[in-house]
Amino acid sequence: MSTSRRIEINPDWCKGCNICVAFCPKQVLALDERGKAYVANVDACIWCRECELRCPDFAVTVVVERAS
């Protein structure tokens, strides 16, 4: 059984408030030159979903898929 995990960011909904970046315990996320959130260091992610829960714009989704 393998698990695939990723962080999806919807740039059309992101307003660049920086909440996901600031409250990530592992500095996984950052804002790009347009002020939109992007995944800067996915290897550090501990999949705690703090970004997803606090994103006011539903722009961050942590996807965990388990495939057998």
Partner: protein, 292 residues
Amino acid sequence: MAVTDYLRKRFMPHIWCPGCGHGIIMRALLSAVEKLGLDKNDIVMASGIGCSARMLGYVDAHTMHTLHGRALAFATGVKMARPDLTVVVPMGDGDALAIGGNHFIHAARRNIDMTAIVMNNSTYGMTGGQYSPTTGCGEYGTTAPYGTVVQPFDTVELASAAGASFIARTTTYHAREMARILADAIRHPGFSVVEVLTQCPTYYGRKNAKGDAVEMMEGFRDCAVPVGPLDDSGHATVTIDPEAVDAPIPIGVFRKEVRAEYCDAYRRQVIEPAEAAAAASAAASAAAGGEQ
């Protein structure tokens, strides 16, 4: 179902300002609804006027955008007609405690089964940052350039005095806990009040030099003090060490007690006796008709 399946995605992105905490509350509410496995067709939401009321544009349930402060009155009508539905009423602090103050205390007094979410950002954001009944004494608003003169309402104390049977307070920083509290509030058979402290960086934050959305949420994190566990009577003990935290905000579930619910009591005390009397009267007149 995923949380976003409860959204009307065609209206996204929403109109709330960057960093506004209202979206975090909407997400926590939808997480609670998803966790409870509620069907969209069984959820009714009513809202008044203000930034908070805009939530109904985005939630794919039965939604009514009603009069300022009067959402609880509309919701009461729905609940009386269809007690089987889950009724949720998101309100702002001004909507709930100023314009709708009377509806709020009387809905609490009736203990009617619905969930009132007071999204408290300490200001009237939609109309430009006027001070509200929860703006702290001495804090600034566009209508308080020298600072407000009066004490704010304490939503928890007010709901408690008015008779709500489930009362909680949380903040947008505590998003995970908020979803858990909202699920608990929805399940509770009585009037549930959940006050959520939320940030308005655009007006309240700027007027009061509270920084951006992140700094305001850090303020919630640093000032929050959890209340004690509920005792046998369903009341929590609030113990705050004034030395430990500057301007502490007690958070958690303050009260959870099961009391007679309004629709239920009304059915037992009014509807059933009235129907029994009508049936007895019909039977008596049928019997009288038979004797003639």
